[in-house]
Structure formats: structure tokens, C-alpha cells
Amino acid sequence: MNEHGSIMVSDFPLLSSAILHEVKNHLAALQLRLAARGDASNEQALVANCAQRLTDLLLAQRVASGMLLADVDAHSPADLLQDLATGYVELFPALDIEVNLDQDPNTAFYDVFLLRMALGNALHNACHHARKQVQLSVHSSNEGTVFQITDDGPGFPSDFLAQGAAAPSNPGQTGTGLGLYLAGRIAALHRLGAHAGRVELANAKAGGGIFRLIVP
């Protein structure tokens, strides 16, 4: 605040964090209340999406201020995918969300909180566009560990494929663009020697989008 008691631009980080905290608390109570009803999965999905958007906003702020860093440790990628799937099975009961663990490595190295956010965004996106099916899988490649989310929806629009996970061309654009950009930034925070993680988008020949996040 300035001496006249007005709100200053510099107050915004604190103010937005306080409001975000409060809103998320309400969303959390709402989420549990909806879950207790058992017939409100659409509403639950909506709540989850609102929360995700708020998280994206904060992440974007941290990226902009250069304060986002990865705390890499050893984790089980299978656990991560199963945890993610559990949440979304509940929110999208009409979809078949499958976790394919045929080739999962025992251990991979990443910041589990950041990856949960990045993959959660991508999974939400896939569930939103899928017709019937979403598949999550993980395997090792010579580049590192590859997390993959596929859906049977219309696939990514061509400008997305061209742009990849670059900065969103229009900062005001909705969900997918900012989410993908943040996923790309999160992947890139994972480094091993000269190698950095990255995000890859593709469309399957039979249709549907393929999201890959690779960490070294």
C-alpha cells in the first residue's frame, strides 16, 4: 500500500497469493462435498479445472520471475501415472482411462511435484477432448524417461503441432496453450549434463493427440 492507503502494483504478488489460497480452500471443500454426493462428476471436473487454472497462473508467475527450480530425486514413474489416473477416473467416469505399465522403468529422476502438475494439465486436456479412451504410459529411451498420454479425440490443431510447447503466442489464450507452455518449461528444468527435458506433440494416424514429456 502507498501512503494514501491505495493498493500498489507491488502488492499484487501477495494479494493474488492470498486470494488464490482462499479460493483454493473453498474449491477443496466443494470438491469433497461433491464427491460425497456421488452423482456430480461433471461438477467435480469443473472444480478441478478451475483449480488447475489457478495453479497455472502461479506457475506462470514463477516462470516469469525465474524462480521455478526443479528438485530432482528418484521416483517410481508407475506410481505417478497411477496417482494421476485415479483422480481423473473419478472426474470422467464415462471415459476408459488406462495406465499401460508394460515397459515402465523401476525408477526415474524428476521433480515429482512439477511433473504431477505438467502431466495433470496434459491429462485433463486429453480427457476433455477424448471420445472414449485415454491411455497413460511410460518407457525408457536413449533420451531418458518418456511419459506419454494419448487420447482418441480430434487431435491437436495444426498450429499447436507447429508451435509445440513454445511460449503461448497470445497470453490471453485459454487452457491448452498455457498448460503446454508450462509443461515445456517444467520439462526443460530437468537437466543432466548437456541434456534437457522437453515436450513433444503429435497426432496419431488413426486420429487422437499424443503428448510426450521426456526427462533425461
Binding site: S17, L32, A74, D79, E90
Partner: protein, 531 residues
């Protein structure tokens, strides 16, 4: 939906009533029977004092300037909960505790709001699975049986368990705790070949320290800080190594740098304040401790010593009224006898420096009215400081010596003694006083043991018993006194006074460290008495 949560004893700490009720309902749906729900840290502490829990779910933001991180720091440093108790932090926002995630005290998991009951369930399931897999390791750690910890970890590593890296982390700590520096270094080197993980790099620095390679340890820590500025343990360790090498200013700078990244734990603020006072940076000390106490206003992590330290920083700036206010404030929150001794001693120093000799003498008399044997190091140091202030240097030095000999392995001994002597302009004598006090008690102990080995039990018992009564927290002395008495009676027969003393020392040892290997030796001698 019945899960692994079924039958688990769960403590839920959440300040908001709406969330509390919803969570209670959700937990009941997934099958929780033993659920205790509390609204704040005080009630949570009361709960863990009377009950054992398998899982603690704690909201990060607990209102009124307290948070879940303070609570976690407090209960983990004081070992109020078992390593087998799971701790999940519930947060509304993931980013601000990213800093906390690399702090020393980390929860087993974070749960981001909002979440569905199924998500909570899966996450807890996962943690319980991990806990079951690591149960033997954790149980051995609780009992401080480091050899057992290491062999259990080796089994998990050899079996390529999903938790192999957890086992590697714990194994490294166990090697360090059992003083096996060279093995710890090899272990961390092997982990680092697989991946340059921050905990393994910090572990390697600790291993180098254990081997006495202080310079390389400091160099490594500086590299870690440059490359991963959020690894807070690196700052803490580097600052300690620098302070131990008498580079107090460098240590202070490192902690200052850490403060730019994260406000940090109360432990770090204390070290920083102690260093600043020792160096005469009283304004800095005042600021750091004031901020820390404000940030932790309603939290149990505060300590009466924090107020004494703040008062010392104020006195050194000749602000006696402010210092007296600080003592008055502290008296409201801390009313036990040890705290009273410390606050009386602090008052004595304030009055003396303000030139009021009468009040100073009165305060010192109040502080010294109770028995000084075995009082905690911090309390002893504050009384020593008061004695120095009124010019009773010999009494002060003998109290300092006794405190050092009572707890010769206290990690911050050097800094504490330095701070007391520094205020009186004798900071440069701290190292010498500590070394000679330690040497003296080691010699006394060795002489006692030698006499007992030579069968001179009478002399050994006289020597060791007198020392054990004077130094009730020096476990080596207390243990050897009990052992000498037991051996004496095995040879010459039971004597009721000796038996009473022997049992008194033995039980005191068992109470302070139930895994001390000497206990078995004492007990086997006592067993022979029965036959």
C-alpha cells in the same frame, strides 16, 4: 471403498472448520475408524503426547502465523513421533513450499488442494505401502541401531526395490551417524555415479567432514550452493563447518545468503543470531531474532533461549529497557523452573550493564537458588554469563567447564561458549576452554576404567561416582560408574548402598539412551549377582 487406511490411527490438523468437517466425512467414507481431528498445533501436540498415530495429515496454513512446516520441524527435531508415522502436508498452493521441499524437514508427501477422497486414498495407500516396505529400516532407526539400519537397507538395495534410492539415502545417514566416514564417502560416491542427486552431494560433504577433510567439504558445499541454490542443508552445513573453523564472519555470510532464498527454520535463525552476537553484530542479531519470533509468534518452536538471545543483543546495544521488556514477555510464555533460571540470569546481566548492582545481585541469587547439577547447557551458559557480568569469573568458568563435561558432544557447543565468552570480551578463549574441559573428563574416565580393569574397584567407583553425580548427562561416565559398581559387587558381593547407586546410574543411562551397548554389559554383571 475400503483401503489400507482402514484401522489406521490418523491425526488431522486443519484450522478451517468447513474443511475439517468435509475431511472428517471423506475419511470416514474411505473406512477410517480411529480419526482424531484438531484445529491447531497446541491441540495436535497434546494429541501426539497421549496417543500414537500411523498418519498425520496437516494443513500447511494454520492461521495466526503458524504453519504445518513449523509443526513438522518441531516434532521431528524432538523425535516426538516415530519414523514410522507418516506425515502428509496439505497445501493450497504448490509453489511456495517448493523452498520447503528442499529444506531439512520434509513431509512424506504433499497433497495439493483440491483433491478427491479417491486421490487422498491412493496417495495414502502408496505411502503405507512404502512405509511397510521400509518398516524394518525405520524401526531400527528409531532404536538408533545403525548396523541394523545399514543391513536392512542393503537388502532393499540388493533386491532392486522400488524404494532402493530411499534405502540408499537412509544407509548414508546411518553410516554417518555411526561414525563410518570413509564408508559413507564410498557409498555416496557410488550413488553419485548413478545420478548427481543433491542429497547425495550433501551427504558426500558430510562424509568428508567426518573424515576430517574440512576444506574439500566446504568446496563441495560451495559448488552445491552455486548449482542448486535451493538446497538449504548445504548452507547450514557450510556455515557450521566455517564456524567450527573459527571463520565466524564467513559462516554468518553464508547464512545471510540462505536467508535470501528461504526464511528458514528456527534452528537456522538461532545459529545466525548466535554467530552475529559472537561477532558483535548486535543490530543484525536483534533483527534476525525479532523477525523469527514474530514469524513464530504462536508456535511451539520458540524457546526461552530465543528471548534470552534477543535480550543479549539488546543489552549489547545498551537498550536495557527493551531487553527487560523481552524478558517480561518471555515470562508469560515460559514458566518452568529451567526457564525461570535462564530469565533471572538474563535479568541479572541487564541490570548489571545498566549499573544497578543491587538488582543484578538479587536476580543472580534467584537464578542460583536451585540445584545447578545437570541443568541443560543453554541454561548453564546464561547463568555463566550472569556470573561473568558481576565479575565472578572463576565461578563462571567452573560452571562452563561443568556444562561442557556434562554434554561434551553437543553440536553447537563451540558457538554457545563463544557467544557467552564473546559478550565478555573473552571469545578467543572458547576453543581452549572447551578442549581442556573435554580432555580433563576423558582423562578422568580413562583413569576410572583403568583402575576398574586393574581390580582397584574401590578407587574406580569413588572416582566415577563422584563424576557421575556431577555430570548426570555424560553417558560415558554414568555408564562406566554403573559398570564399575556392578563388577565390584560381582567380585566382593552385594552391598545395598552400592546396589542402589548402581541401579540409579544404570536406569539413568537406560532412560537417556536405551540402546547404549554398555547397558548389556551392566545387566549381564547384575544378572550374575542374582545367582
Amino acid at each position: 471403498m475400503v483401503s489400507r487406511l482402514y484401522g489406521k490411527r490418523i491425526l488431522l490438523i486443519e484450522d478451517q472448520e468447513m474443511m475439517r468437517n468435509q475431511l472428517r466425512q471423506s475419511m470416514t467414507i474411505v473406512g477410517c475408524k480411529h480419526l482424531r481431528v484438531v484445529a491447531n498445533i497446541q491441540l495436535a501436540l497434546e494429541a501426539i503426547a497421549t496417543e500414537t498415530f500411523d498418519l498425520i495429515l496437516c494443513d500447511y496454513n494454520l492461521g495466526e502465523n503458524t504453519n504445518g512446516q513449523q509443526f513438522l520441524e518441531y516434532i521431528r527435531t524432538r523425535e516426538l513421533i516415530s519414523r514410522n508415522t507418516l506425515f502428509i502436508m496439505i497445501t493450497a498452493e504448490q509453489t511456495y513450499q517448493k523452498v520447503m521441499a528442499v529444506a531439512e524437514w520434509t513431509p512424506d508427501d504433499y497433497l495439493l488442494k483440491p483433491f478427491t477422497p479417491a486421490q487422498l486414498n491412493t496417495r495414502v495407500d502408496r505411502l503405507i505401502e512404502r512405509q511397510e516396505e521400509l518398516q524394518r529400516v525405520n524401526r531400527a532407526s528409531d532404536r538408533k541401531r545403525w548396523d541394523l539400519v545399514i543391513s536392512e537397507c542393503d537388502k532393499l538395495i540388493a533386491a532392486h526395490s522400488k524404494y532402493a534410492f530411499d534405502a540408499m539415502k537412509t544407509k548414508g545417514e546411518a553410516l554417518l551417524k555411526s561414525g563410518r566416514g570413509a564408508e559413507a564417502r564410498q557409498h555416496y560416491d557410488a550413488v553419485l555415479l548413478q545420478r548427481p542427486l543433491s542429497w547425495a552431494r550433501v551427504g558426500l560433504a558430510r562424509a568428508l567432514e567426518a573424515e576430517g577433510k574440512i576444506e574439500p567439504a566446504c568446496a563441495l558445499l560451495r559448488d552445491i550452493i552455486t548449482e542448486s541454490p535451493m538446497v538449504m542443508q548445504a548452507y547450514d552445513l557450510l556455515a557450521r563447518l566455517l564456524a567450527d573453523s573459527n571463520k565466524h564472519k564467513d559462516a554468518l555470510d553464508v547464512l545471510d545468503e540462505a536467508g535470501e532464498i528461504s526464511p528458514g527454520t528456527m534452528g537456522r535463525q538461532r545459529t545466525l543470531t548466535t554467530l552475529a552476537i559472537g561477532l558483535g553484530y548486535n543490530e543484525l542479531a536483534e533483527k534476525v531474532m525479532c523477525d523469527a519470533l514474530n514469524a513464530n509468534k504462536y508456535s511451539p518452536v520458540r524457546d526461552v533461549g530465543d528471548y534470552a538471545m534477543l535480550s543479549r543483543a539488546l543489552v549489547n546495544q545498551k537498550k536495557s529497557d527493551a531487553a527487560l521488556d523481552v524478558v517480561k514477555q518471555a515470562r508469560k510464555g515460559f514458566t518452568d523452573s529451567d526457564s525461570n533460571v535462564m530469565l533471572d540470569a538474563t535479568e541479572c546481566v541487564i541490570y548489571q550493564r545498566a549499573g544497578d548492582n543491587t538488582k543484578a545481585t538479587e536476580a543472580l541469587a534467584r537464578a542460583m537458588a536451585s540445584d545447578m547439577t545437570g541443568i541443560p547447557l543453554d541454561i548453564a551458559m546464561s547463568v555463566a554469563e550472569a556470573l561473568l557480568a558481576v565479575g565472578r569469573e572463576n565461578d563462571a568458568l567452573s560452571l562452563i567447564k561443568q556444562a561442557i563435561q556434562n554434554t561434551p558432544n553437543d553440536h553447537n557447543l563451540m558457538q554457545k561458549v563463544q557467544a557467552v565468552l564473546g559478550s565478555d570480551g573473552k571469545g578467543d578463549r572458547a576453543a581452549e576452554i572447551i578442549a581442556s574441559s573435554r580432555r580433563e573428563i576423558i582423562q578422568l574416565n580413562n583413569e576410572g576404567v583403568r583402575k576398574a580393569d586393574a581390580g582397584l574397584f574401590d578407587e574406580a567407583v569413588t572416582l566415577l561416582s563422584a563424576a557421575a553425580d556431577r555430570l548426570p548427562n555424560n553417558l560415558q561416565i554414568v555408564g562406566n560408574a554403573a559398570l564399575a559398581l556392578a563388577q565390584f559387587m560381582v567380585r566382593d558381593g552385594v552391598d545395598s548402598e552400592r546396589l542402589n547407586n548402581c541401579l540409579r546410574y544404570r536406569n539413568s543411562l537406560a532412560e537417556q539412551y536405551s540402546e547404549d551397548p554398555k547397558l548389556r554389559q551392566i545387566d549381564s554383571n547384575l544378572h550374575r549377582l542374582k545367582r
